[in-house]
């Protein structure tokens, strides 16, 4: 049945459908609605789970990992500064091979403080061992949480998963969402019953132990990497099973008007919707342009990205983040995925846009396309990422600077 619900409600609904047993929580805008809904449902006895509020995200993630290791299906959520505050424990929880699901509601990281999304929060966790699935719509959010448990609890993977949704643009945005029947979800995702490696008084085990040996450390750490890579295959299997039961199919990447496109824009998350609208508009103007959205960020689907972009004239990667001093975070990952391809595009150009939730306007999409066209006709390629920032954007910032007491700023 389709209902009009927010991205936050989509997460909470999925958690309820997955019969999650333990939820450690700590509030942060724009994520709080998720844990508010869950605590309410538990209070109203619509959901049979234990809900505990913690003193910080650091404790919250520790509790999530520990609870998961007792064999409980565990969920938690955070955002922005909250995720960063939990950082040390992210690496521990993945090292413990605790199959938790964490919903991260993306919000740009301070300073300066803001509320709206970009991906410097979630991408900071890219090396932590958590898998990462980034969603475009509220429907995909709900479906991804359900799929995430299935992937996470698979013994070829057994790693925690972050499902990412953009603050405001998904978290508070209501869209029609098809809510699956409980029976079907239970059939897809049976009760979590670990048969090894969980805390049980009758069979005591030590967990989180020190190795103090570089050989052992290397072994265990590389096992994490192999487990994560296995998720590429497991995702495909899970995706096929999901499609059979629910009729919706998700790939590692999502393509839009890609087949005959000469130029491709690569994006992630909810701003892709605006990208698709821009592609429609540019197509109407006769431009052969398409879009590739990367849904699975960890493990990074190098092979499928290389296949999808092979033979294209030029590719523009929009990073909604900035690795200060380097540029877009995903750009080098995409270029390295293509380096050995015989048919790699002549130019792959890095763009930074949508920082702090700044809308990416049609002017910006046009600029990307014209830069790609120019670079494919000439041999000029920019060394640094290109910032998507318009004269009007600068005009409004100049106004603010003036009010803040900095006078008339010249330049630009």
């Amino acid at each position: 049945m389709k209902q009009l619900i927010t991205g936050n409600a989509a997460v909470a609904t999925a958690v309820k459908l997955c019969n999650v047993e333990y939820i450690p929580a700590y509030p942060i805008t724009p994520q709080t609605e998720i844990i508010e809904l869950l605590s309410r449902w538990i209070n109203e006895e619509k959901m049979d789970a234990k809900f505990v509020t913690y003193d910080s995200e650091h404790s919250m993630i520790s509790a999530a990992g520990a609870a998961s290791l007792t064999g409980a299906r565990t969920f938690t959520a955070s955002s922005s500064q909250g995720l960063l505050y939990a950082f040390e424990m992210l690496y521990n929880v993945s090292g413990w091979r605790a199959p938790i699901v964490l919903a991260n509601v993306s919000r740009a990281v301070a300073s300066p403080i803001t509320m709206e999304p970009d991906h410097n929060d979630v991408l900071a966790a890219r090396d932590s061992g958590f898998l990462q699935i980034h969603a475009e719509t509220c429907q995909e959010v709900l479906d991804s949480v359900i799929m995430a448990y299935k992937i996470s609890e698979d013994n070829r993977v057994r790693l925690p998963v972050i499902v990412n949704l953009d603050g405001f643009y998904l978290s508070y945005t209501r869209e029609p969402v098809d809510i699956p029947e409980q029976e079907l979800v239970s059939q897809f995702l049976p009760e979590y019953k670990p048969v090894f490696g969980y805390l049980n008084a009758q069979n005591p085990i030590s967990m989180g132990v020190a190795v103090l040996s570089s050989n052992a450390y290397s072994y265990f750490k590389y096992q994490l990497h192999l487990a994560s890579l296995n998720a590429l295959t497991v995702h495909e299997e899970v995706s096929n099973q999901f499609e059979k039961l629910f009729g919706r199919k998700y790939g590692l990447v999502d393509e839009y008007m890609l087949d005959d496109a000469d130029y491709v824009i690569v994006m992630t998350n909810s701003f892709t919707t605006m990208g698709k609208a821009a592609i429609n508009r540019l197509r109407e103007e006769g431009k052969k342009v398409g879009l590739l959205r990367i849904r699975m960020i960890r493990p990074f689907p190098k092979k499928v990205i290389a296949e999808k972009l092979a033979g294209k004239k030029a590719v523009g990667v929009i990073d909604q983040n900035v690795s200060v001093g380097s540029g877009g975070i995903l750009y080098p990952e995409i270029t390295s995925a293509l380096y050995h391809s015989q048919e790699r595009p002549k130019s792959i150009i890095s763009f930074i846009g949508g920082l702090g939730g700044k809308k990416i306007s049609i002017s910006e999409f046009r600029h990307i396309l014209s830069t790609l066209e120019t670079s494919s006709h000439t041999d000029k390629f920019p060394v640094q990422s290109i910032m998507l920032f318009t004269e009007d954007d600068w005009g409004s910032v100049k106004e603010m600077l003036k009010i803040a007491g900095k006078g008339d700023v010249s330049g630009n």
Partner: protein, 297 residues
């Protein structure tokens, strides 16, 4: 696609209004997307909400660029260049404003040439619900403008208000309010937006600025004066000095330091700073403070 932008202040029920409009459009068989947008989650701070209604899947997100309908629940926002609720207006946009002011005065003052509906929803809301939360009135009038059926408005507001924990008695009053607003509003011809028209702006290459400029700091003093802080309130406290004992409780409790003490020791309200929070009225031990509606903010 029909695009609706709603503007108001935190606590007025604008988010709820957008949900009711969204629900009604959705149960009428449309694709719908709705979203509130707010920076500071604070009572009285400006908030906006957007509803998109379409026959086909919606490929847009966030703020609306061109509105079919603009609904302004608080007319003080019209005077704020920062909030500028008219910025998404095109020639064909229908504008509805909740105000006790004369429509021709609003037209002249804000240079409005569009179809304009001015209605005192605050008065209607107060008369019927004895409160000044405008969400239901705004939603109901908006749904009528859009040509939806009242049954759907009633159904949605019941579930939305129940969801946010409103008591049955208040829900009944709100249904009565919704009915009056619905009946007194006329249907309007709302244009669909087929192609978004926005001013395109060239991309620039930002250059480095001195840290004095490029660090996020404020060096100007007293710039809160640039915003009319009193515009937040629909009501102002008025002191009956005959019964005032000069105990200064109001002065102490005021969260915005809007009270000063005059040479005779009596409290005086600075209405430019008062946000109408009601705390002084509640705390006054001799109950000599009453709240009066602000007509011309």
């Amino acid at each position: 696609m029909i695009t609706i932008s709603l503007f108001g202040r935190g606590g007025q029920g604008i988010k709820t209004a957008s949900h009711i409009v969204g629900d009604v459009a959705f149960s009428s068989g449309n694709h719908v997307q709705d979203q509130p947008l707010y920076g500071a989650e604070r009572r009285g701070a400006p908030i906006s909400a957007y509803v998109r209604i379409s026959q086909t899947p919606i490929l847009e997100r966030g703020q609306i660029a061109n509105s079919s309908l603009v609904v302004i629940a608080d007319d003080s926002l019209l005077d704020s260049s920062v909030d500028n609720p008219l910025q998404t207006v095109t020639d064909s946009t229908v504008i509805m404003i909740n105000s006790s002011k004369d429509p021709s005065e609003i037209r002249t003052r804000h240079k409005i040439n569009n179809v304009l509906v001015v209605s005192d929803l605050t008065k209607l809301t107060q008369d019927i619900t004895h409160k000044s939360i405008l969400g239901v009135a705004v939603a109901s009038a908006t749904c009528k403008l859009l040509g939806f059926e009242f049954e759907l408005v009633e159904k949605s507001l019941k579930s939305e208000l129940k969801e946010i924990g409103i008591h049955q008695e208040d829900i009944s009053r709100n249904i009565e309010l919704a009915k009056s607003c619905f009946n007194q509003t006329a249907c309007a011809k709302i244009e669909t937006i087929t192609k978004i028209k926005i001013k395109e702006s060239p991309i620039i290459e930002p250059i480095y600025h001195h840290p004095q400029i490029s660090t996020c700091t404020i060096t100007a003093t007293g710039n809160s004066r640039l915003r009319d802080r009193g515009a937040w309130s629909n009501f102002k406290p008025v002191i009956d000095y005959d019964g005032c004992t000069k105990c200064m409780i109001c002065y102490v409790y005021c969260p915005d330091s809007a009270f000063t003490i005059d040479s005779k020791g009596s409290p005086v309200v600075d209405y430019d700073a008062c946000k109408g929070c009601n705390i002084c009225k509640t705390e006054c031990p001799t109950k000599v403070i009453s709240l009066v509606r602000r007509e011309n903010k």
